[in-house]
């Protein structure tokens, strides 16, 4: 099968959905003339014109608010927030408005918008341009939250997000944009809310999220060499979270490591660990261990950033700690 990059896969998803549905529009900073700072929207302005691919002023609240408003009348806007850190600028819309339109209106409204963003951990961007805090949006019920780790998932999930009638926060890993993976030519859509077992195994479950899935796969290889057969589960969406798939895996392996880019306290892994311990307590043979950055802002220095980030080695040593 052909291999394309994550950025190109996402670009295809946008393009296909725009061709399919005239109600799909894009808005965001630098998505038109510039093609997106990471080129995910490249060529779309040329193809669909400035009415459907809208460069905005630097005003994230207006971007998300306008996407929400347009969605309430049935458009399917895809708003790009250039860096996840800037979601904070639009947080009033993201927390107080977007997830609640349906609920607050007693079901009169729905808000089929997508907010695409990316976090740049691993790209030496420092404290204000690298943050990864998807778990915040577990505390913003009404939103769906997607974190793809491969070009295949990226394309299929973005198409699903655009077609979904609920608001979706779609969080990409900037560090993965140039990684390639198999993506079929034919159209496909992946379901939201379904975890994917990226590698089957018997001895240990590694749940990994976004960029760290790649590291977890490497870790699984390394563990294999030591005779440990790890299963790697990628939740792909964390709201809804396919906790059943994770619990099933743990029931099989009895051991769980969760690895991700959100700092230790309050991260996705905390929720997964809490759910697993509540639902599969009797199956656990060892503590649940989380591999995650420490509770600190992200350092700039390339060496320090590497030390800060989860990687295959850290996953391996965490896993080994559970056997012994």
């Amino acid at each position: 099968m052909r291999e394309i990059t994550l950025a190109d896969a996402l670009n295809e998803a946008l393009r296909e959905e725009m061709l399919r549905d005239p109600d799909v529009i894009l808005l965001g900073e630098e998505i038109g003339v510039f093609g997106g700072v990471y080129k995910v929207t490249r060529g779309l302005l040329e193809e669909f014109g400035p009415e459907r691919v809208r460069d905005t002023p630097i005003s994230e609240t207006a971007i998300v608010g306008a996407a929400l408003g347009a969605s309430l009348l049935g458009l399917r806007p895809v708003a790009e927030i250039m860096y996840m850190d800037f979601l904070a600028v639009a947080m009033d819309q993201v927390l107080n408005h977007v997830p609640k339109a349906r609920f607050m209106s007693g079901g009169q409204l729905s808000a089929p918008l997508v907010i695409r963003t990316q976090y740049s951990l691993g790209r030496v961007h420092g404290s204000q341009h690298s943050q990864c805090f998807p778990s915040w949006f577990l505390q913003a019920p009404g939103l769906k939250v997607v974190l793809p780790s491969t070009p295949y998932d990226g394309k299929g999930l973005l198409k699903a997000a655009i077609r979904d009638d609920d608001p979706v926060l779609f969080i990409e890993s900037g560090a993965l944009y140039r990684t390639k993976g198999e993506v079929p030519e034919e159209e496909y859509v992946l379901p939201l809310g379904r975890a994917d077992v990226k590698r089957e195994g018997e001895d240990l479950t590694i749940v990994a999220v976004s960029r760290v899935v790649v590291e977890a796969m490497k870790a699984a290889d390394a563990l294999e060499e030591r005779g440990i057969n790890a299963e790697v589960v990628d939740p792909r969406t964390i709201q809804p979270l396919d906790i059943d798939a994770i619990v099933d895996s743990v029931k099989k392996t009895s051991r769980l490591v969760v690895a991700e880019d959100g700092n230790r306290s309050g991260n996705i892994g905390a929720t997964i660990a809490a759910e697993v311990v509540e639902r599969a307590f009797d199956y656990l043979d060892a503590p649940i261990v989380r591999v995650a950055p420490p509770d600190m802002p992200i350092p700039f220095s390339p060496e320090l950033e590497q030390a800060y980030m989860p990687d295959a080695d850290k996953v391996v040593s965490a896993a080994l700690g559970l056997f012994g």
Partner: protein
Amino acid sequence: MTITDLRSIPKEDYPRHGLSGERLLWMLRKMIEIRRFEEKAEELYLLKGQITGPLHLYLGQEAVAAGVMSALEREDMVLTTYRGHGHAIAKGVPMRPLMAELFGKSTGTCKGLSGSMHAAIYRERGVLFASAIVAGGVPIATGVALAMKHRGTRNVATVFFGDGAVNIGSFHEGLNLAAVWGLPVLFVCENNLYAMSTRVEEAMSSDSIAARASSYGMKTFIADGNDAASVYVATRKALEGIRRGEGPAFLECRTYKMKGHGVYDKAEYRPQEEEARWLERDPIEILKAKVLRDGLIEEAGIEKIEAEVEETVGESVDFSVRSPVLAFEELERYVYS
């Protein structure tokens, strides 16, 4: 950009502005509906304890809702705030679901999930959203207008907010984007001089709200918010340009609340003399005087309206009292579709 002051509309210009007798009487009825509805709500809250939670009354500002809505078309969309009962009623939301929402009942506009602060959500009548975050509706309205433009309709998104809203980022970003993109939004600021206890001039240093708005490059109008005719004419003029595709417009309505910020607030921070001066300018009395003077209706006719409204309000209360609360198990259905 130009600022047009339409605070006083000479009587002889009424016909030219579309201020027919029918329109004036329609506005009067709406204003009476709002007044009686809210007086009842206040009573249910303060005396009977049947309504709880925040309750922000629109009393004294009725002319704004009536004047603006009279100029809007049914498919135009309205977005409002926690102080939205008046807008809802004037845009045609029936009193029963509106009152039931205040009670938190399943028959409410929002099935009791939202209460007074968001009761003004009623898609069917183009009352689209009510945010209790100051200026939260402003960027959303911009997006609603974007959809209207995208669809090629002639509709307009109208968003209401207070004088306190003009200092927050959402206001700035929403106005700027609407202006840059030339979207069909009517921004309506109900300047009642206070945001809670804070006076306009303590919170902003621009010359006026209208001046600030006009600096975004949109046509701006000033109306007398206690005179429905002035509000109607200003809205109509603003809409003309918007529907011609000239982009957004701004309307500042100068008015005053009869009561405090919420039902609990006695507004002791307002000078008595100022209050007295404004309360003398009761918008319903002003309009009544006009229609009586011009012989558009007799006292008896007004009494009849009053009686009808009284009955509708009463019914809405009975309806609300009788209505059930949603079962908690049902709630899940409203989180995701």
